[in-house]
C-alpha cells in the first residue's frame, strides 16, 4: 500500500508552529472581527505573498502596485484596518504615500516594509505617519500580534 498522499502538499508537511497557518494540522489562527488590509508594493512576488498571508488569517486583503493607486483607492472612500507599504515605490515613495493617506484622515494601522532595513528610512516613514517599519519578509510573528491588536 502506498503512503497516503496529500495532493496539495506532496509530503503532507506539518510540524509548523501553532502561530503559523499550517492547515494540515487543523490549527488555524483567524481574526475575530471583519478586518481589511491593503498591500502597496511594486513587486508581484511580495504582493502575492503578503496578500496570501493576510488572507490566510481571514483578513479581506487587496493589493495595489503604486502609492498613487493606494491614495486613489482611499480617496474614493475605501477604508482599511491595516495598510502595508513598501519603502521604495517608484514615483511617490512609501513615506510620501503614508503622508498623503494620513492627510486624508485615515486611521488605519500603517506598516512600512522594506527590502533593506535602514534607520533613515525608518525615521522618514515614522515621521510620515507609519506606526511601524520592518524588513521583509512579512512573517506570522509580525502579522498575528497586529491582527490581535486590531481585533480588540
Amino acid at each position: 500500500m502506498g503512503a497516503a498522499v496529500d495532493h496539495v502538499n506532496p509530503m503532507g508537511m506539518s510540524g509548523g508552529s501553532a502561530e503559523g497557518n499550517d492547515k494540515s494540522e487543523g490549527q488555524r489562527f483567524s481574526c475575530k472581527s471583519k478586518l481589511t488590509a491593503l498591500v502597496v508594493d511594486n513587486g508581484g512576488v511580495c504582493r502575492a505573498i503578503q496578500t496570501a498571508l493576510l488572507r490566510s488569517y481571514g483578513v479581506d486583503t487587496q493589493a495595489v502596485e503604486t502609492g498613487e493607486a493606494a491614495v486613489e483607492l482611499i480617496a474614493s472612500g475605501a477604508t482599511f484596518n491595516l495598510i502595508i507599504i513598501e519603502m521604495l515605490l517608484p514615483f511617490m515613495n512609501g513615506p510620501e504615500t503614508a503622508k498623503q493617506i494620513r492627510a486624508m484622515g485615515a486611521q488605519s494601522k500603517i506598516l512600512g516594509i522594506t527590502g533593506f532595513f535602514d534607520e533613515r528610512d525608518q525615521q522618514e516613514f515614522l515621521a510620515a505617519g507609519a506606526d511601524d517599519f520592518i524588513e521583509k519578509p512579512l512573517s506570522p510573528e509580525i502579522v498575528i500580534p497586529i491582527i490581535r491588536e486590531l481585533d480588540n
Binding site: 496539495v8 506532496p10 509530503m11 499550517d22 511594486n42 511580495c46 502575492a48 498571508l53 527590502g115 519578509p137
Partner: protein, 146 residues
C-alpha cells in the same frame, strides 16, 4: 519500493538538500504552509512570478551597469526589489548576494557590481533549476496518486 514512495523520498531528500545547502531558508516553508485546497498551486505560482520578476530585474541591472554614466541609485533600486522578493520566497543565497551587491552600489564600484551581478545571475539560474526539479517531482507525485 513503489513509484510513489520513491518519488516522495526524492522530494524529501531534494528539499532537505536545498535547505542544507542554503538555497532555501525557513521562509520557503512559510510559503508551503499557505498552500491549501483553495490555492493548491500557490507555491508554484508565486515562484513563477519570482522567475519572471527576477529575470527582468537582472536584465535591468545589466543594462544599468552598461551605461556610459552608471546610475548606481537606479541599480540599487533594482537590488532592493530583488532582495525583497528573494527574502520573501526564502531564496537565501540569492538574498545574501543582494546584500553584498548593495554594498558595492553604495561604494559606487562598477567592477565589483559587475562581478556581483554575474554571481547573482549564476546563483539565480541554479536556484531556478533546483526549484523546477522540485515542482516536476510534485507533478509526478500528483500524477502517481491519481
Amino acid at each position: 519500493m513503489d513509484v510513489m514512495t520513491q518519488l516522495q523520498r526524492q522530494w524529501r531528500e531534494h528539499t532537505a538538500y536545498l535547505r542544507k545547502e542554503g538555497y532555501l531558508d525557513d521562509q520557503f516553508e512559510q510559503l508551503q504552509k499557505l498552500q491549501d485546497e483553495n490555492s493548491p498551486d500557490f507555491v508554484a505560482e508565486v515562484v513563477s512570478i519570482f522567475f519572471d520578476d527576477s529575470e527582468k530585474l537582472l536584465n535591468n541591472m545589466a543594462r544599468a551597469l552598461e551605461q556610459k554614466v552608471v546610475d548606481f541609485k537606479q541599480v540599487d533600486a533594482h537590488v532592493h526589489q530583488f532582495k525583497g522578493s528573494s527574502a520573501s520566497i526564502g531564496a537565501m543565497r540569492v538574498k545574501n548576494l543582494c546584500i553584498e551587491f548593495r554594498n558595492h552600489c553604495e561604494a559606487q564600484s562598477l567592477e565589483e557590481c559587475v562581478r556581483c551581478l554575474r554571481k547573482l545571475q549564476y546563483e539565480y539560474s541554479v536556484l531556478k533549476n533546483q526549484l523546477e526539479y522540485l515542482f516536476r517531482l510534485e507533478q509526478q507525485i500528483r500524477a502517481a496518486g491519481v
